[in-house]
């Protein structure tokens, strides 16, 4: 085994041990963890036995194993990028929503008299009603 194989396989083994332990601990994120473990196992197999990748490549009609790895990597990266961007957009919307709620709940009434309004003027108008919730 080459040094590269030693190092990377050791790292993968470590990751696997931790992920499996985490899997047994809690049910949260089970699917993602299983997917991660599968990927780690596949990567470990490919590194330990490079001929495996070549065999797969031949089987699906692509010349070199390295090409298969490249294509899979590009595809995986693109998918991940889209997924992350979608999550980012959703996160932004949530952030705005929270900011909005806080702003509405903390609404204050200014006063021509001078700086700021104290609690007595906060409700504004007659009746002292609270800023309305939707």
């Amino acid at each position: 085994m080459t040094p590269f194989q030693w190092i990377t396989l050791a790292a993968i083994a470590l990751v696997l041990v931790r992920q499996v332990a985490a899997l047994r601990r809690s049910r949260a994120g089970r699917r993602m963890r299983l997917l991660g473990i599968a990927v780690a196992l596949a990567a470990g197999a490919a590194i330990a036995e490079p001929d495996l990748v070549t065999a797969v490549a031949r089987a699906i009609g692509i010349g070199r194993g390295a090409d298969v790895v490249l294509y899979v990597s590009v595809l995986a990266f693109t998918l991940v990028a889209f997924f992350l961007y979608a999550r980012l957009v959703a996160l932004r919307r949530d952030l705005t929503e929270i900011t909005r709620r806080m702003a509405i709940e903390g609404a204050r009434r200014g006063s021509a008299a001078g700086r700021g309004a104290d609690g007595a003027e906060q409700a504004g108008g007659a009746g002292g009603e609270d800023p309305v919730e939707r």
Binding site: R92, R93, M102, I104, G106, R108, G110, A112, V132
Partner: protein, 229 residues
Amino acid sequence: MTNREAREPWILVPAFREGAGLRATLRPLCRRYANVVVVDDGSDDDTHAVALEHPVWVLRHAVNRGQGAALQTAIDFALARGARELVTFDADGQHAVEDVEALLAPLREGRADVALGSRFLGTAIGMPRRRRVLLRLAVHFTRLTSRIDVTDTHNGLRAFTREAAARIRITQDRMAHASEILDQVRTARLRYVEVPVTVRYTPESLARGQRSSDALRVLGQLVRGRLLR
């Protein structure tokens, strides 16, 4: 909600880093209108404090979310307090208070659900050449993509009836919100009219305004916002 809140129009003013200049905008507004909402979009200057010196509602975003977001916050607040007429109004002093009534007229006459201000139908005072070109480009782009026929797509002066405002939901926090509003007006089949208004470019608003690089960025945001919708 009080009677005044229900009867009188609501003026919605999203503000970001307007500082002391906000006084010039709020003072004439407060003289004529009792229901003014200022949404401070997370400014780091005294915008919030200046707003509180006037008899207006002051809301504050804890973090900056963009003009579109501030507008929607103002709309939500006004609707919750029973607003029947809502008018969006820029904080930077470019708009004229007199134009508010002109925008409300078609709504009150029952001719439209939404009134959109247009500086190209009206007057643009002191508009720099480059800005005009850029705006024309933006108008063209928005007309193509939103398929709505307006002459001024990025005018912050708009009026909505309660029903119309309730049908709109601004999700584009930043610059793309203007074309999003037009989009929704069209898909919700709201009746709209354009009203000539005056836009005055003051030295302050120009100084803060967009340089060429900013302009490109805005166009980029427009395109990106359009693609993602």
